[in-house]
């Protein structure tokens, strides 16, 4: 495959950033959800 380095960086960075964002959002959410009263969480 031509330009493999460029293509690998694009795919690698994009999916790493998305996974990092998902993990950060989940961990922040779980951390806060254990401290906030259920009445303030309409989705529960």
């Amino acid at each position: 495959m031509d330009h493999l380095g460029f293509i690998a960086v694009v795919y690698g960075v994009t999916f790493t950033v998305i996974v990092a964002l998902v993990v950060r959002t989940l961990s922040q959410g779980r951390n806060l959800a254990s401290k906030v009263a259920d009445k303030d969480k309409p989705w529960t």
Binding site: D2, I7, V10, T25, G29, L32, K35, V36
Partner: protein, 253 residues
């Protein structure tokens, strides 16, 4: 001391379904984009960047439009529900990340096809300006004040900032640009693209859109809990201050 325990769940069946759809679509994009789809006649393998570049750009546009719509709903609604403001903030945060990824992938693609990582081209420049505008929007959201003050000032900025999107999108038509014109949404209905390439691109758009929806739903829940904690701490501080004042008055008697 007995510490109260609360339900630590943030996900719901809907967000789980959206997440599963995003994972399946993303797997398709990686396999389809890197292995299944053919090389482009002109660009060769560099076209594989398109399966990531176009969906991230689409999600960034979508995110900023959602921010503007949610801001308009906040301003126009009688109750000024803070839910609208949180959706606007969450969507802008996700949009900024996807816009930055669009610029990065575009820069690397440009290095292959144009021989340069960056050019002061109308599309590139207006896109960079859009990114800076929304970084500014997030900075304004971080300023002090009440939740209502935050919502009002950021809503006004969001409604002004969204006007840049047509400028970015049509910059390739209005000015001479290195950036190619729209291939799929060209308007004439004639899409000059191999079937597997088009399918992978569309699955990418669906997958990245699901990822965006999942992130915004979860992030606005995080913001809701942060706001709730802020209000609880404020209430506790006010109660403490009131109790101190009452003790002082009692001491004076």
């Amino acid at each position: 001391m007995n510490e109260q325990t609360f339900n630590a769940r943030v996900a719901t069946p809907t967000t789980r379904l959206i997440g599963a759809m995003a994972i399946v679509s993303m797997a398709w994009v990686v396999i389809g984009g890197l292995i299944v789809t053919p090389k482009d006649v002109d660009q060769g393998d560099a076209v594989r960047i398109m399966y990531v570049h176009v969906p991230t750009a689409w999600v960034a546009y979508l995110a900023f439009i959602v921010t503007a719509l949610a801001s308009a709903c906040w301003l126009l609604s009688r109750k000024h529900s803070m839910g609208f403001d949180r959706v606007a903030g969450a969507s802008a945060e996700v949009g900024v990340v996807f816009m930055a990824m669009t610029l990065l992938s575009g820069s690397l693609w440009g290095r292959i096809t144009w021989g340069s990582y960056w050019a002061w081209d109308p599309r590139l420049t207006t896109t960079a300006f859009l990114l800076v505008t929304y970084i500014g929007y997030l900075a304004v959201r971080g300023l002090g004040g009440s939740l209502e003050q935050r919502a009002r000032r950021s809503a006004v900025i969001a409604l002004l900032a969204v006007l840049e999107i047509p400028l970015v999108h049509f910059s390739v038509l209005m000015w001479r640009s290195l950036h190619q014109k729209a291939s799929v949404l060209s308007g004439d209905g004639d899409i000059k693209m191999d079937g597997s390439m088009l399918t992978t691109l569309l699955v990418g758009v669906i997958g990245f859109t699901c990822t965006f929806a999942w992130l915004v739903l979860h992030r606005q829940r995080v913001l809701a809990m942060q706001d709730a904690m802020q209000m609880t701490q404020l209430d506790a501080a006010l109660r403490e201050r009131a109790s101190e004042s009452a003790d002082r008055v009692e001491g004076l008697k």
